[in-house]
Amino acid sequence: MDLWNKDAEDSLRKLGNIFLTGDMNTDFSFSSAKDDPHAEIKNALKKKRLYLAAFAFLPAFGGIVGALVMGILHLFRIPVYGRLSMTIIYITAIFGTGLTIRVIKRWRGQSRDAKAAYDEAIMAKAVQEMMPGAVLEPDGCMDGMELYLRGVVPDFDDFQGSYLIRYEKNGKACTFSNLTLTRREKDRNDNYYNKAVFVGQAYALRYKSRMRGTVRIMTTTQLLGREILSGYRKLDKDQEEKIETENEIFNQQFDVYASDAHSAFYVVTPVVMERLLAMKAKYGSFGLAVSGERIEIALCSGYYLFEPPESYREIETISVEKSKGEIQQMLLFAQCIEDAVNGKRTEN
């Protein structure tokens, strides 16, 4: 009997762990302020998980309460469809709805507070340490329409993002942000739904160049063996032409559009082609526009950088150093692009 109790207790504990930590062998616990300087932020994020678990349990809890009410009604031989029982059922339903709303409100409030604390104590600090003088706007993002007009992202109906960072490199203003673009599309039953056409990071960089024209380079999308622009802005033929380079492998993996062929060959040198191919293999698909000193890049990574973690294991690893690592990753990609476009210089 004792053994059964232990087993039941263990099973219940594992079940709780699955809901609270996502791993049945990891017990949920709040961080101690003594050992951890970021305990407050971690606990705020963990509380968010608690509310989420409570919300998941509410239907089960409602079911149990409903069964109890029905049992009591049956016990006292009260007719289920009578006035008293209906009153009890209504009160239970109202109570349940109120409880659900309260849990949702608390969860949203907790999410907001946890993110604000995370942005202030972790992100702002990491940004200042890595990029002194940089400006961080946690809820800001780059203008999707501007990026679309520059031809680096596909067509969309709505955009949102996070972690807009404005910084200077070699005296030139650069910008970064996470970005999501959604398009309203119809399904088979003519119902509209929002389809994410881009999730990733957008960069606007400045580099030293005397280039005059505009060159766009996008990873190629193929449909039934035919190249398609898949929603990217397309200009008239007198404004922009499709360029075929001498490198067949590059042509198969990238589309190059330019205001004139000379500009395209000026930017897309053999070294640049090699580097862009390597970047595609490492980072995935991206759109790139170069004109004059400006470079705009939209990297469709499928994830956001710098966001407060959701999983229990990742919450435990929160630190300024970890965020600095992510900023390093962001700067590395920006440097990669700059180096790639500047490839012609290192070539000599």
């Binding site: 005397r210 075929e244 380079t245 062929a261 000379h262 060959f265 040198t269 012609k344 000599n348």
Partner: protein, 178 residues
């Protein structure tokens, strides 16, 4: 009925021949544009090289000889002439660099540095123009080589265009390897 089919086939052949001929012309114009691009870059580099030679005047007695050897770049050159100017400028450029290395005072002057930057810039444009020329020549040569366009090309007198051949490529490679 047979006559109608024959006429239709003839009309289609003529339409194809016209389309192919126009395509050859378009591609040929692109080659000419790319060649003009190279010439512009060569003329620019010629000007910069002349300024460089002016800048190194007084540092070396070889300067007069260098200047005499520099072939004047002009527009409307043939592929062979373009290649000759290219090779000549490369040679003069190498000489200018050798002289620069021998005179540290010269290399540290602002004018010399500025001219070197301009040379680098024109070299980049020249490299882009050469690659564009080769890409266009390749497209044109492919277009006139494939059947049945090759028949039209033969009838209209379209001959394969020449690539720019760098006679000194092997020598440059050896220098780099060294």
């Amino acid at each position: 009925m047979a006559l109608l089919i024959l006429l239709t086939v003839c009309a289609l052949c003529i339409a194809y021949a016209i389309a192919a001929g126009n395509n050859f012309k378009k591609l040929h114009i692109k080659i000419q544009e790319a060649q003009a691009d190279i010439e512009v870059a060569l003329i620019k580099r010629y000007d910069v090289l002349m300024q460089s030679l002016d800048a190194i005047k007084g540092y070396t007695e070889h300067e007069e000889k260098l200047m005499l050897n520099l072939i004047k770049a002009r527009s409307g050159m043939t592929a062979a002439q373009t290649q000759a100017v290219l090779d000549n400028q490369e040679q003069v450029l190498r000489n200018v660099r050798i002289i620069g290395e021998a005179y540290p005072q010269l290399t540290s002057s602002e004018l010399y540095k500025n001219l070197q930057m301009q040379i680098t810039e024109t070299n980049e444009h020249l490299a882009a123009s050469k690659r564009l020329y080769h890409a266009n020549v390749s497209l044109y040569n492919q277009a006139i080589a494939v059947f049945p366009a090759s028949m039209i090309a033969g009838m209209t007198g379209n001959r394969p265009a020449e690539f720019l051949r760098d006679e000194n490529a092997e020598a440059k490679r050896e220098i780099r390897l060294r």
